[in-house]
Each structure stands twice: as C-alpha cells, then as structure tokens.
C-alpha cells in the first residue's frame, strides 16, 4: 500500500487508517459528525496527497488539454481553475478533474487517486502532437484547508493576500516559509477555503504550520469519511459512485462543464451534443428521504406502481440536515423536482422526494 508524506503524522494524531485507492489514508480522526461540523462552521484540514497531478506544457499544451477535456479551456486565463472531465470516446467518463492554467503553454491537471494510471495512459495516448507531459503525482503533496474561516486563518502563513481571492483561482505563494506553493480557492466541501500543493519533502513542515495557524480558529484534522458526507451534501459527483466509464456527463448533470463552443473540438463532442439536444433516458437526480431511513449506493429506486426506475449512486445520513440524502440515476419521466419516489432499504420501500441541489445551503 502507498503512503502519503503525512502518514506518520496521521498515525500520531490518532487517525483511523484504511486502504483507499491504493493508499493508506485516515478515514476518521475524532468522529465523522464532529469533523463534518467543524468544516461547516470553522475549518478543517484534509490530506489529499493521494490525488494525481499531471503537467502539460509547451506550444501544443492547449491543443491537448482542449481535445481531451469537455470544458472550454479557451475560457481560462492565467491563474484560473476549471472543473472538467475526460470523455472516454464511448459516451462515458474516464475521470473528472481540475484544470489549472499557469499560462497559455502551461497547465496542471489534478485527477482522482483511483484513476491516476488510467488517466495517465489516456493522456499519453492522446498526446499525438507531443506536448510536454509529466506525471508528478508521486512527488506532490496536497492539503485541502476547508471551511468559512480557512482563508482568514491561513493568511498568517503568507504575505500574499489570499482572503480576497475569487472562487476557482490560484496563486503561487510563499507559504509557511516554503517557496512556490500553489494555493487555489478550490475544494470539495462547499464551505470555502483553499487547496495547496507542494513537494513531499515540505509536507510535515507545512502541515504543522497549518495546524498551528488554525488553532485559534478551531482547526481539526478531517478524514475521508467526512470528505464524502461534505461533498454529498453539496451534490458534488464522486467518480466511481455517481459517474464512471458508462455514465455520460450530460445525464450526470455535468452539462455545465460540457461546452459546445466554437473551436472546442473535444473527444465525444458530436455524441454529447446530440445527447444534449435530444435528451437522455435517465438523469442523475438528488433526493431526500421522506420516511426515516438512510439510502446507500446500489439501493433500487421504485415508482408508486412498484416498477424499478433507477439506482442509488451515493447516499448517507446528512450530518447537517439529520436526514437521509442521496443521488440516483432515475429514468424519465420520474425526474421532475418534487416527484415522489421509493427507495428500497432492505425489505422496505421508503418514500423519498426529488429535490434541488445543494442539499445543504449553509
């Protein structure tokens, strides 16, 4: 099993360690609910060094990134971040990712840990014009510092102003005495904050500085379990659950990152454009339980005539709303807001209702 550069510190801090995407990662420290609330109300720090980082550089960099991602790379400017996905050439998704534009000839792609090898092979395969590409995943560490107080607390570690940064932008800063730290106002929690990237050898120093700078604001280390409940309360997709090689970005509700603009000739564009125009037979929808119960991945969804109309892709008890929430692929015509559906929880069919995202509005 792989370890991140902070493995020793997680053990020291009492993290409950599990295997995730080939890495030994902390799933929980103090408890999932307290960790979740800490991020919603103050700030928490996550080790997300398992994520993958690919650099794409040179005169052909733009062309490659534009070709393999669904969003419009031409709309980026220096210092801007974009959420996107790699269409797989068969109507599905290879992975979802972030694209960072340093300049017109330099991009950083941040991908999911579980897909690093698959994604790298995909990028290499499509690099027909020989952009300079490198896989920095093994040497790069990443922390997510998330919560309403995160930027204010982290400001003490850098002289570059960060509290006024716009959402989904980044700067290269000196952070906790370490030069060339990438700091972006991104995250997977919906509670604001930043993510920072740096070399493995600086990981312990930076992690300790973050804990210290956040101490007065109530910072806590947060595990992967709370990362999942936080993202699900916002309705953010998780690759492997809500999206995969056989779900299209259109049916997953990711039309907003699938841009049919002039010059954006990405893989699967004709297919997805047709799908967007004609509609899909199923859609990824958010639902809240009406009856008491907790939806889980793979539970079946029924209509009131007892016909199967879908399957749950993610589900949990929402720590903020204190009720069961989930996402499911649901067949038309049962996808409208307010439609009553039934989730089969063990041997019972429990009532639920299709709702708008996000579940938690802060």
């Amino acid at each position: 099993m792989k370890q991140t550069a902070l493995n020793r510190m997680h053990h020291e801090m009492g993290g409950k360690m599990v295997e995730f995407a080939g890495f030994e990662m902390p799933v929980q420290f103090e408890g999932i609910n307290i960790e979740h609330e800490t991020v919603r109300n103050a700030l928490g720090v996550f080790d997300v060094s398992h994520m993958g980082e690919f650099w794409v550089e040179g005169p052909k960099a733009f062309e490659l990134v534009q070709r393999i991602t669904s969003n419009d790379v031409a709309s980026l400017y220096d210092g801007k971040v974009q959420y996107s996905c790699f269409p797989n050439g068969e109507g599905g998704i290879v992975d979802d990712l972030l694209v960072y534009r340093f300049n017109a000839e330099k991009y950083l792609l941040v991908v999911n840990a579980a897909n690093i090898d698959k994604d790298w092979n995909w990028v290499v395969k499509h690099n027909i014009h020989n952009a300079q590409i490198s896989n920095a995943s093994d040497s790069t560490s990443q922390l997510a510092i998330q919560g309403p107080k995160a930027l204010e607390a982290m400001q003490s570690l850098t002289t570059t102003p960060i509290t006024n940064m716009k959402y989904y932008t980044f700067k290269i800063v000196e952070f906790a005495g370490v030069k060339d730290v990438l700091l972006s106002t991104t995250g997977y929690t919906g509670s604001g904050g930043c993510e920072i990237y740096f070399k493995n050898e600086d990981a312990e120093k930076i992690y300790q500085a973050v804990l210290q700078a956040g101490a007065d604001f109530g910072i806590k280390p947060i595990g992967l379990a709370a990362r999942d409940t936080l993202r699900l309360e916002m309705g953010f997709c998780l690759y492997g659950n809500d999206i995969n090689d056989s779900t299209s970005p259109i049916e997953a509700g990711l039309g907003w990152i699938t841009k049919f603009t002039d010059g954006n000739d990405f893989i699967d564009r004709p297919f997805l454009e047709k799908q967007k125009a004609e509609g899909t037979s199923r859609q990824l929808k958010a639902f809240e339980m009406i009856d008491k119960g907790i939806p889980r991945q793979h539970y079946e969804v029924f209509n009131e005539n007892d016909e199967v109309i879908g399957e749950v892709t993610s589900g949990t008890m929402s720590p903020m709303l204190k009720k069961g929430i989930g996402m499911a692929y649901i067949n038309k015509p049962f996808t409208n807001l307010g439609t009553q559906i039934f989730i089969k929880v063990r041997d019972k069919k429990l009532a639920a209702e299709i709702v708008k995202l996000p579940f938690y509005k802060g």
Partner: protein, 126 residues
C-alpha cells in the same frame, strides 16, 4: 476499552445483561467505536420470538449498515424507543442508556455458550 464485569458477550460484539427471565441487549464499547457515529437504529421485531443469532434489527453509522443479532433465543419485548431520536446514546453510553432491546429468554441455558468478560476482553484485545 470498557468491558464491564457481570455481562455476557458475543463474538458479534453485543452484550446481554440478565435480570431474572428477562435481559437487556446492546452493543459493546468496542463495537460503537468501530462503527463511529451511530445515526439510525431500526428494530421491527418486537413481540417476535427469534432464535439465537437471528437478526433482530439493524444499526447504521454514517458510512455503514450492520445487522443486530440475538445473543440467545428469546422474544423481543421492547425496543429502546429513546434511540429513535437519539441514536448517538449508543455511542455515549453503550452499556447503560444505550441498551437496544429487552428480551424474554427462551432457554437460559444458552447463556453458558456466551463469552464472559475475560473471554471477550481476550477477543477484542487479540
């Protein structure tokens, strides 16, 4: 690890406290720590007579679902309804206010098959 004397335990990390012909059943401190924050407990077997190791309910943590098993054969007399609104009581007080069901024993001799405090301690500390 809190493993009180005077209770009997199962390999599934449940405890049983016998009072005459009746008994209280819950999950151990070890089990609640392993599960993490408990968010839902469902028991719809009240008044049913169940065999030892049959499922009498389910317990859900944020991330997981687990079945609850009868430590011995018996009739489920009562579900601790305070857990419907406050399932976290099982985390806070697993051997006290966090009891889950009260049962009537069908065959008290079955209690001898369960683990005593030392045997359970050996199991979880192995």
């Amino acid at each position: 690890m809190n493993i009180p004397a005077g209770l009997k335990y199962t390999k599934d990390h449940e405890w049983i406290r016998v009072e005459g012909n009746e008994a209280f059943v819950g999950i151990t401190d070890f089990a609640q720590k392993e599960l993490g924050d408990i968010v839902f407990i469902e028991v719809d077997t009240v008044d049913e007579e169940l065999d030892a190791e049959e499922t009498f309910g389910t317990i859900e943590a944020v991330k997981t679902v687990s079945d609850l098993f009868m430590p011995v054969s018996g009739t489920v007399l009562e579900f601790n309804e305070s857990l419907e609104d406050a399932p976290e009581t099982v985390n806070k007080d697993p051997y006290g206010k966090g009891w889950i069901v009260k049962i009537k024993l069908s065959d008290p001799a079955q209690l001898d098959r369960l683990l005593d405090t030392d045997a359970y301690k050996a199991l979880v500390e192995a």
